[in-house]
Assembly symmetry: C2
Homo-oligomer: 365 residues x 2
């Protein structure tokens, strides 16, 4: 069988290790596992969302309303845009897929930061496009602009705050950058961690309604996987001009978000107390990791997210050794080796989880 030649060299995304793996490989009971690997919400999900889903199980057999009207209305109200500016995705991941497939053909160029979410390049390469990255670890808008002028990409990805590093760009810097980009270049601003960034520094906040009204070539993406605690439900969204949304809709498979996922998301948007309480806890707990790293002289990236990335070049253990040691104990972190970094990414957990992990890190590093 001859498959499309782009498949020959496509990389495959490596996900954080699931709890199931630790259970089956190391025989650790699931309730003993501490998973701080995938930037999930350590407080779980709002009890109101759980109640809503529990009351809605009779909807499982029914295809969702394929207009997703109620979800789009809830999102448009939450972000001050029109429902026609919104498209729902099976995770914000699916919005990246729509973005790449709507503008990229073989040989086209995509621009991104050196270290960033790896699905951007995977989706781009599926279209036969060539991905150009800065050589910086944190976002470098000057270098991004130089590369833009040189390569004239059809698509630019900006992840702010950035996964897997944790840095955030200031809104005004992003706007100055966007001012210099042609309206014919699609720009994805991935705001998966925007709520965390905003609570640490308001200047990093990029409101979707504002950015799409100033820049008709921007699509802002968001997710319910982080502050709303719905990572397992696969639901995200894109906010953009009607022109972009219409194009993405042509690539959207029918019923792309499950019935229970959309109900959970609508309910999650209402429970702002749950979100605020998590954001406060995250901001309270983050300094404990910073103090730890400082005490050991380990460099780390200032984080505007719910994780912290600590570099281990000068540590007693490499990121692989630390990852594997803790994995055997039932603590799952994310080794950033596949991103070319000798660094470990730690999701900020609940205080009880952080205490256990910090004790182990103090002993091991």
């Amino acid at each position: 069988m001859r498959f499309q030649s782009v498949l020959d060299t496509l990389p495959i995304y490596e996900a954080g290790k699931p709890i199931e793996l630790v259970v089956r490989e190391y025989g650790i009971s699931p309730d003993k596992v501490i998973k701080l690997a995938s930037n999930e919400n350590p407080f779980g999900v709002s009890s109101k969302v759980k109640e809503k889903v529990a009351r809605s199980l009779d909807k499982m057999p029914l295809y969702p309303d394929d207009t997703y009207r109620e979800l789009k209305e809830a999102l448009s109200q939450a972000y001050g845009v029109q429902p026609s500016n919104v498209i729902q995705g099976n995770g914000s991941d699916q919005i990246f897929d729509f973005a790449t497939r709507s503008v990229l053909g073989p040989g086209d160029c995509v621009l991104q930061n050196g270290k960033t979410f790896s699905m951007y390049s995977i989706y781009s390469e599926q279209c036969g496009a060539k991905v150009v990255s800065t050589d910086s670890i944190e976002h470098d808008l000057n270098q991004l602009l130089d590369l833009y002028k040189r390569y004239r990409p059809k698509l630019i990805f900006i992840c702010t705050p950035c996964n897997p590093i944790g840095d955030a760009l200031k809104k005004n810097d992003v706007y100055s950058f966007l001012d210099k980009i042609s309206n014919e270049t699609l720009v994805v601003i991935d705001g998966a961690y925007m709520d965390f960034g905003r609570t640490r520094d308001r200047e990093t906040d990029i409101p979707p309604a504002e950015v799409i009204s100033k820049y008709p070539n921007v699509v802002y993406t968001g997710t319910f996987s982080k502050v709303h605690g719905l990572g397992g439900m696969r639901i995200g969204y894109g906010i953009a001009s009607e022109e972009i949304i219409r194009a993405f809709y042509k690539l959207r498979p029918p019923f792309n978000v499950s019935q229970l996922s959309q109900l959970a998301a609508i309910e999650a948007l209402k429970d702002t107390d749950f979100v605020d309480s998590y954001l406060r806890s995250n901001l309270d707990e983050l300094p404990n990791y910073e103090s730890f790293a400082d005490s050991k002289g380990l460099p780390y990236f200032k984080s505007y997210t719910n994780f912290i990335t600590i570099r281990l070049e000068d540590a007693k253990l490499s990121s692989r050794e630390l990852f594997e040691t803790l994995l055997r104990e039932g603590i799952i972190l994310r080794n950033l080796k596949s991103y070319g970094l000798n660094a470990i990414r730690i999701t900020i957990g609940r205080s009880d989880q952080n205490r256990i992990l910090l004790d182990r890190l103090k002993a091991l590093l």
Copy 2:
């Protein structure tokens, strides 16, 4: 913004009308609506599945195990294949997407029956491929073979039993056809309705393990949306040679099936009593629609599915008129006008639903 030119002419899938629409447009209370439009399971979902999901709500925040190991093991045991022969999809729809994107490039040819599931051509056209269809309504393998020889397609779709017509091919006829097809041509056998077909005529049953061992170029697709009553949960699968599955995996987005969906599916596979009882009811109820159509002299297609398609060329109402009249009363059927047929597709419901609908059809037609 310049989008990829294939987007200019792409059709958009038209889904069956959701209950929500009838509620908001006609003010009918949701529990009074009879939806027999989308071939969902009229008995809902197994109570064991509901209990399993209700017990698993704490998993909503966690990304699924991206290996989907438990789900693939359950499917491989159910169908007598290896886990490496299985890929899960966000509905079997996503498997069609993997199939088209793995083999099709601009200008390539895809072959399908004249009337068939409309997403095949939508996904194919997204790849810039040209879709050639037979001029038959029911599957015509002789014509399909003639077109195969003339156009040498890279991909063939066979939907058996076929949506939206209801006809089924006999296994031996399919195998004789496949014997004449090059191993370099990918063939999708969409078995979404296979369980219904098998209960009506065993000769229409195409076991996935058998077909993929005889034909390494075949991918068999199945869904949890029909007999298992999980249409809203978006979960389907492909079964094929390891070579095909590996290629599809390169196009699979991470976490493509939600946490609760995979748990529901695993549980649904266990409750064979629920499935068997639905299959018996479906076979008991189908003749009531056939007798009705016979009594009115309305032609219909012999159905091997959970729906019946009745032609209305000689009826008092066109399919549009009948559809709209019943919609206002809170009964949702599927008008096949968008398929170029003056015909109505009726999902076989529970006996109480069928009685109400048949009374109205007797009065109206």
